[in-house]
């Protein structure tokens, strides 16, 4: 019963590993964050009674009451502006913007206020806001419901940006984001919401500091770099390549700001070849930053120019065209082949 998601899961706190979808893991992280810190507030369009259009906040209002978990009127700028005010009043706001493409109306508040208030106030104004943003494509959604804004957010000083790739990552990274004293943009890969994996929220995990990446699969011939939904696609690619004896390392970047430049350099220093994969359009996408960072740090060891496999420089398309737009397995494999076969001229 979806409407009892939280209560159902809550009883499991500290029991054993179960199958969790990303959507459930995030729901649980929100629940535990609300339990552990009574300054946490969850709000946004339809997050209360409905439990969110993706049911990610399901059951939270019933459990924590309408003061802690509430619906807002339909205005993204005010949602973020309200978060600023709540933070100034000593609360820990966890707003949701319903879809990636609807964060644009809130960008003025996010960039000019959320990201700068701590700086503007010389460190006196607390701004521990976590913006949850269902993101990226892959679900045949209407226009504006499949956007990738990470390079935009990563460019803004004062923000941190993170995107989980698995249910377990979703749980821990969201708890880390909410506990963080700075504003964090939490990009949820909506195409992975329903993918289930075993995960024990109570199992002790070594807490990786903010800004560290994760080797999702070790390998030695080339590094595939991705985040969000593209991590599982890269793992598929690595699986396929392994059949041909090519061992690809898959690096889940996780934090898109601050970026783990050292982690990138370490991996590509070993594999000497890199392919970065993202859904966002090519030009000025975060792949450019990853490519530049790697090249700056591994110029001598790199055996081929870093390849970017990305969305095209076109608006995110409708329907079946989305499969043609998104980096597919074949396009990624082609790029892998390029870096493997590259010979200096």
């Amino acid at each position: 019963m979806p409407s009892e998601m939280v209560t159902e899961r809550v009883t499991e706190r500290g029991t054993e590993a179960t199958e969790f979808s990303l959507q459930q893991a995030i729901n649980l992280a929100l629940c535990h964050a609300c339990e552990d810190d009574d300054r946490v507030l969850v709000f946004g369009e339809d997050v209360g009674r409905l439990g969110g259009v993706f049911r990610v906040t399901d059951g939270l209002q019933a459990k924590f009451g309408e003061d802690r978990v509430f619906d807002t009127p339909l205005a993204e700028s005010a949602i973020m502006g309200m978060a600023v005010g709540l933070a100034l009043a000593g609360w820990r706001p966890v707003p949701e913007i319903q879809f990636d493409g609807f964060s644009y109306p809130a960008l003025d508040q996010i960039v000019n206020q959320v990201a700068r208030m701590h700086y503007r106030s010389r460190g006196t104004a607390p701004m521990p806001i976590t913006l949850r943003l269902p993101s990226f494509g892959g679900i045949r959604a209407p226009e504006h419901h499949a956007e990738s804004l990470e390079s935009l957010f990563a460019h803004v000083p004062g923000l941190k940006v993170v995107s989980p790739s698995t249910p377990g990552e979703g749980y821990h990274l969201l708890r880390q984001a909410i506990a963080d004293p700075d504003p964090v943009i939490f990009l949820e890969p909506k195409s992975r919401y329903w993918h289930r994996e075993p995960f024990d929220p109570a199992a002790p995990v070594p807490v990786a500091p903010v800004g560290t990446s994760r080797i999702a699969r070790p390998g030695r011939h080339a590094t595939l770099i991705a985040w969000g939904a593209m991590v599982s696609r890269c793992l598929q690619v690595a699986e396929l390549a392994a059949e041909d004896g090519v061992e690809l390392e898959v690096l889940d970047l996780r934090w898109l700001k601050p970026i783990d430049a050292e982690g990138l350099a370490e991996s590509v220093g070993r594999t000497r070849r890199a392919v970065v994969v993202h859904e966002a359009p090519l030009t000025a996408g975060l792949g450019a930053e990853v490519s530049a960072l790697i090249t700056e740090r591994c110029f001598d060891t790199l055996r081929a120019p870093v390849q970017r496999v990305t969305g095209y420089d076109v608006p995110y398309p409708a329907g079946p065209l989305e499969d043609q737009y998104l980096p597919g397995i074949d396009r990624i494999l082609t790029a892998v082949q390029t870096v493997l076969e590259y010979r200096r001229g």
């Binding site: 409905l50 009127p73 339909l74 700028s77 005010a78 609807f102 045949r140 209407p142 076109v314 597919g328």
Partner: protein, 356 residues
């Protein structure tokens, strides 16, 4: 006097302002000559049956998703029918099938958006006087203001009408648009379908003060709340606003009180946030039943149904016959001429598409 024109008189008595009284004769004349309740009813039935068909197509897996407008037919048809498609222009949201019907928009092209063929639909928005399908809540409202200024500069007498919902009324853009329209006194109609819900949020927790029309006064512009389930009232009120705008009388906010009888979209489950009893009770005030009752001519009503069935059949066939859009289209409409970089990306896309 037909029951319809009698009804007009009754409604007219509700208008208490001097101007309204002076215009009565004029309105009666317009109403009786140019307008036709029967025609409106035919649109209502087409809209209703097509909406039902779209839901069926979604259940059958043809449409990936659909946003029903059941219950809002009168608000949409009545307002759109009051426009002059030779010189006016309408700005829809994502739930304007009834307006598309009344404006004569290519309905296969309209529903192609829900089919997932092309976000903006496949109809020609410029020729249809119906802007591309717009999924940003509140997004097109300022466009109408700009269009209205353009029309006034050209002296065409054109009027812009923009649709938006009770939820959208919370967006900053709607305020900015009304303020601009008020400052410049532009020929634009802000047509709010107050259908009680914005997904799961009831308008009591959305619209502070309760009325979108009441906001108009704060901008020094005319605001009027109307019965959105009465197609004649909607038509008349919109006609009045259109005439005023054409005559240089400035903008109007119309708030059509109606109800979203269905879910927000086919992915939505209203049972999670509103009692079924509310839906049932509101369903009794059915805009189609109301106009049918007024018309009272069973033969005509049956004819309207068979006309609708024919339209539905044609649209259904048209939709099923639509192929996927060719992948090249991803590249060819981004700019008027594709850039060199885009052509290169298209070339690479073609290579990888051909390789599969």
């Amino acid at each position: 006097m037909s029951s319809f024109s009698a009804k007009v008189l009754v409604r007219s008595r509700k208008l208490t302002s001097l101007i309204a009284h002076c215009c009565l004769i004029h309105y009666l004349l317009c109403t009786l000559s140019a307008m036709n309740l029967r025609e409106l009813h035919r649109h209502l039935v087409v809209a209703r049956r097509l909406d039902e068909e779209a839901i069926a197509l979604q259940r059958q897996g043809v449409l990936p998703a659909y946003a029903p407008m059941k219950g809002q037919e009168a608000a949409q048809v009545g307002s759109a029918a009051a426009l002059d498609p030779t010189r006016d222009f309408a700005f829809p949201t994502y739930r304007e099938l009834g307006a598309a019907v009344a404006l004569g928009v290519d309905l296969v092209g309209y529903l192609a958006s829900h089919l997932g063929n092309w976000h903006g639909g496949l109809y020609d928005p410029m020729a249809s006087r119906f802007a591309p399908f717009n999924a940003v809540v509140g997004g097109p409202v300022t466009h109408a203001v700009g269009w209205a200024m353009g029309a006034r500069l050209d002296g065409t007498g054109g009027v812009a009408l923009t649709y938006f919902g009770d939820g959208a009324s919370s967006q900053g853009d709607v305020h900015e648009a009304m303020n601009f329209a008020g400052v410049y006194r532009l020929p634009v109609i802000f047509f709010c379908q107050h259908n009680g819900w914005a997904i799961s949020v009831p308008s009591e927790r959305q619209v502070a003060g309760g009325s979108v029309a009441a906001r108009a006064e704060g901008y020094g512009i005319t605001g009027r709340r109307i019965d959105g389930n009465d197609v004649a009232e909607v038509y008349e009120a919109t006609r009045e606003a259109v005439d005023r705008a054409r005559d240089g009388g400035g903008p109007t906010v119309l708030e059509a009180m109606t109800y979203r009888l269905g879910p927000h979209s086919t992915s939505d489950d209203p049972g999670r946030y509103r009692p079924l009893a509310e839906e049932r009770q509101r369903a009794q005030d059915d805009p189609l039943l109301r106009s049918a009752r007024l018309i009272g001519d069973e033969e005509f009503l049956a004819e309207a149904e068979s006309h609708a069935a024919k339209v539905v059949r044609e649209v259904r066939e048209g939709l099923l016959a639509l192929g996927e859009q060719p992948g090249e289209e991803m590249f060819s409409f981004v700019y008027r001429e594709p850039t060199r970089a885009l052509l290169e990306q298209q070339r690479r896309w073609k290579e990888s598409a051909d390789a599969q």
